[in-house]
Symmetry: D2
Subunit: 337 residues, 4 copies
């Protein structure tokens, strides 16, 4: 930490700050400039983290030098983490595609979707059984019935299942049916859920919050990893900005940034990231080129009758075409799809 | 709902859209312009809400005319709702001030804080026993021990207690000690928590999400009200923008906007809204002038040693001065403090 | 400036950085922590500003301690600047109200507007003769003809004139008719215009850019002041966020923040700041309570036929009511209106 | 346009609205729903654009159906526009790369840069002679001297020149030296400059404003095209968000969106878009995959001594490597580089 003193800070102010820092078992280094004095604080990271200096007389501001997350960071573990989902790998050279409808609606829809997804070459079936909806009057999902349908449809096509968990009470139930537990954007800051997932036995796909910084996102993953569950996959799904043409602003630079800050894999959701069917394919390709380890894409056999997010769902045919072209891109990026 | 057809939509496209809408038990009105045809959809609100038309051939876009929330809306209930917390009222002509430390630390801190808060004229003691923190390594709160201290300190000064609930499992516990249950900004989109609070027996103070729109916020309150708990208080606490001088951007126009859209009371948190002690007093006054029904302010007997958010906490003396000047402002706004 | 070295930086990296800094005529102070070394840079502010260190081997990041603006800053001049517009003062204890239509349309409109504005107690007539419009097909203003009408209408009621300048070529012309030159939000980053206004002979009202930080805004004022024109008035008019209910998000904390960072006066534009007639009065009151030195408000004798921004214009009657209540607020804030 | 009446609007309110619309020479279509009446307005686009209805009694809101820009739109011209810069083409199947230093510093720097840029395969030399800087005390560029150096260095390597114009007075001068005139992000809303460029004889590269919507950006291009200059190239350079790890948030979905909304070419600036050297290459590749028609990249022979933006400049070697891999990507996207 660096403490910047005000230009008008007195020697007494400086002495008090130094005394307080040293009293906490830390060391100081003073640099006296023309404009102001700055005080470097050296020592144990946790002790530094708990110092609150801004209220002291003469202090202008404090600057934190190092981040608080550790287990998720690339400096803690240099090599890429590869998540192994019962034989299907994500991360490193392994590219994974998850596809399926936004919400699980019925067996017919899921069977069709799973078949389309499998034929096109995806490894995971996605679908929401518990749906977080802005309005209490919107369709909230089929719950356990939906999980059963998902599992059944996936098994028939030899696919893995990824589905969202909204509530720590449901983790045990969902683990019975799903291979990857998804944390949605609205729950990225739900620390109670994150803590509970630290004790889960399945990998967690952690979506970025609606307006979460990279640091907050990395710390959210740290919550899960520090609980003991080291299988975390990031998912960039767009952030909230002033632009209204797209549903969100897909931040592909986050893919490259997370790759330098963390060893964990990161995938991209171009469906929620854009909210427009016509933009899904170009953004899926761009995500591969940016270095993503996978994609999660909404595919609905009949998007025009979907119960949610029909606007951004691909038809099976469009998804199939996209997958063909993705195979070239992933090869070029030295990834296996 | 209004469906805007593409300029190149064919008559067949239009016919199909009309057929689909009417098949759902709704009526249509066509307006054929020079550029395009627009189709008005008339009928039951819920049926309209579940129509997904954007994927149909020839459809340019759909525009929703009416919001989905109902119970919270001013058009549903014209007069101001007044929340009665065991004799202390919030809303209408009643102005409420909640104050206290960010986190409950120990009995001494709380006793001092409660006394200062009471003397200055506040009616509620605030303090976090369960703390949502960005990093898993930050102080997470004293839990039930903190609740007990809060209640004890408040009772001694005849204050009410407001404290945050992070987790639906804790509602019953917290209701034993608190008078108002706070939903923090990070949980505004935690629909499972909102649903559970719909069955709680205490009023809920619902903070605005980090980047929540007014519509999303109103819908979050609708989740609670539609569960049966009609005692909801909004709390504006700043939204996330690109500006870094302040911790958040306090959106005081939200106060006046919520007042026209809803009958529920709204209070303002200038401490989190600005993150800077020096800005708390001017924003508190501005909140009153904007029409707020109350304030929640961080006060710490010794902000320079606070375990969290010391930078934005007022000293007891500064809080006392603020309260004196607020009394004039509230009187001028025709509110009782 | 503080240079933070990477944890893995070698002694040779550190030596090179130190050598480069000292080679530029500056001094260094090293603090060697457990995680990394930080290097304080001390000396001439301008020399420091021109150092680019981030590309050097081993450098993690650099942190700037002090801002570049000087003439506008409160630390350069402690007492409030009061702008004297031919006898009408803005700043310090002097509260100014500017009102009138968005665009100058014709003599009849302006005469009515000026009369209403004067009766209600404002000191300035506002109105756009040169209009910056998003679309080239929108009404672009009456140009010099509009300026003449403005001057005439204002003189008749003994009001001062404030109007926008879009282009440095027009400064001389506009100075002939106007008392204050307005820089619109879209031109806050138009440095060529700012430089030219540094040589103008009339005070400049500088609106905040659509998404300008406080630092950028202060620097924009520094452009004008460093050119020799010391009469600058800030105008907060809302920033662009994701919220769509309001046209912009009015950032009233900027008022209090600018007051601590600068000695220059700041006024508020609640009309553009909210874009909704119903929100103008509450935000005007809140602006006074936040410490603003004035207001600029759109008033149109017949808003329902306005050529631009009718939605946010007050009627003369509504403006008159607002002014009555503002008089109490300003008195309470120890300002003269 | 669609006018939505309030639920409580009276028949008289509706009649007045209809009368006003029809009085303006337009037609109406009424749809009377359970909640409210909506009025479709049909007729001449320009007449509709100038209607201001929101202030009328009983009007809830108005919704605009069609955009105001025309010449730039894909519906006006279906095929891709290809800009021909003296033999070098941009758009359609032609991919263009512009590279060079942020600011022109001296002949040595430029000669080295131009050589590196040419060898790697770029067609344009970029470099700023007129620099828009946040602080008046920052380096403002070499002006005409810089233009001469640019032209000389480019000619030696047979490259075209792209450089920024800040001021309409400078257009004629810059046209003497440059092949493409750049409008920077801070000037996208400088309508006076845009109008002047409508009469320029060289193509214009129009950067997206710091927080400009796609609609505003398209309208800015419409300003240039409606003045007679049809050679406009869009440049996505990132938008301002709350994220601070990157300098801006590069919005690659804008590339695909502009492609569907307009026939004009669009290129991407990953240097300003990220502000971090390490993210330039991944974002450059992603831009190609998203469908961009070109790239503009900062390359400096010695980034560690650059006078501006050294942090985001590539070394000649890094640029060379990037260009090699881009050749594969462009080929795969069916573009010629």
């Amino acid at each position: 930490m660096v403490i910047v003193m005000k230009p008008k800070a007195t020697q007494a102010d400086i002495d008090k700050v130094v005394k307080r820092v040293e009293g906490a078992g830390l060391k100081t280094h003073l640099s006296t400039g023309e404009e102001c004095t700055i005080i470097g604080v050296i020592g144990d990271k946790k002790k530094i983290a708990s110092l609150e200096m801004n209220m002291m007389e003469g202090v202008e501001k404090t600057l934190h030098i190092t981040e608080k997350y550790k287990l998720v960071s690339r400096s803690f573990k240099a090599e890429d983490t590869v998540i192994d989902v019962d034989g299907i790998k994500i991360g490193g050279k392994h590219f994974a595609v998850m596809a399926g409808p936004c919400a699980v609606e019925n067996m017919e829809q899921l069977t069709e979707a799973a078949h389309a997804v499998k034929i096109a070459g995806a490894q995971f079936l996605r679908g929401g059984a518990f749906k977080p909806r802005t309005s209490p009057y919107d369709f909230q999902g089929l719950k356990e019935e939906g999980l059963k349908l998902l599992r059944q449809a996936a098994d028939k096509e030899d696919l893995k299942v990824v589905t969202e968990v909204l509530n720590h009470d449901d983790i045990e139930l969902i683990e019975k049916y799903a291979d990857i537990l998804q944390v949605g954007a609205r729950n990225m800051h739900n620390f109670e859920l994150l803590k509970a997932l630290g004790h889960a036995h399945k990998p967690v796909m952690l979506k970025r919050g609606l307006s979460a910084t990279l640091t907050e996102w990395l710390n959210a993953a740290e919550y899960i990893m520090s609980g003991g569950n080291e299988q975390v996959i990031f998912c960039e799904r767009g952030i909230r900005t002033y632009e209204t043409y797209t549903r969100n602003t897909l931040d592909l630079s986050a893919v490259a940034a997370i790759k330098e800050l963390s060893h964990l894999p990161i995938i991209v959701d171009p469906s929620h990231g854009t909210g427009r069917r016509s933009l899904v394919a170009p953004m899926a390709k761009a995500a591969v080129a940016a270095g993503a380890d996978g994609l999660i894409i909404e595919v609905h056999p009949h998007p025009e009758v979907a119960l949610s997010d029909g606007d951004q769902s691909l038809t099976p045919q469009a998804f199939n075409e996209l997958m063909s072209s993705l195979k070239h891109f992933t090869k070029f990026m030295d990834k296996e799809l």
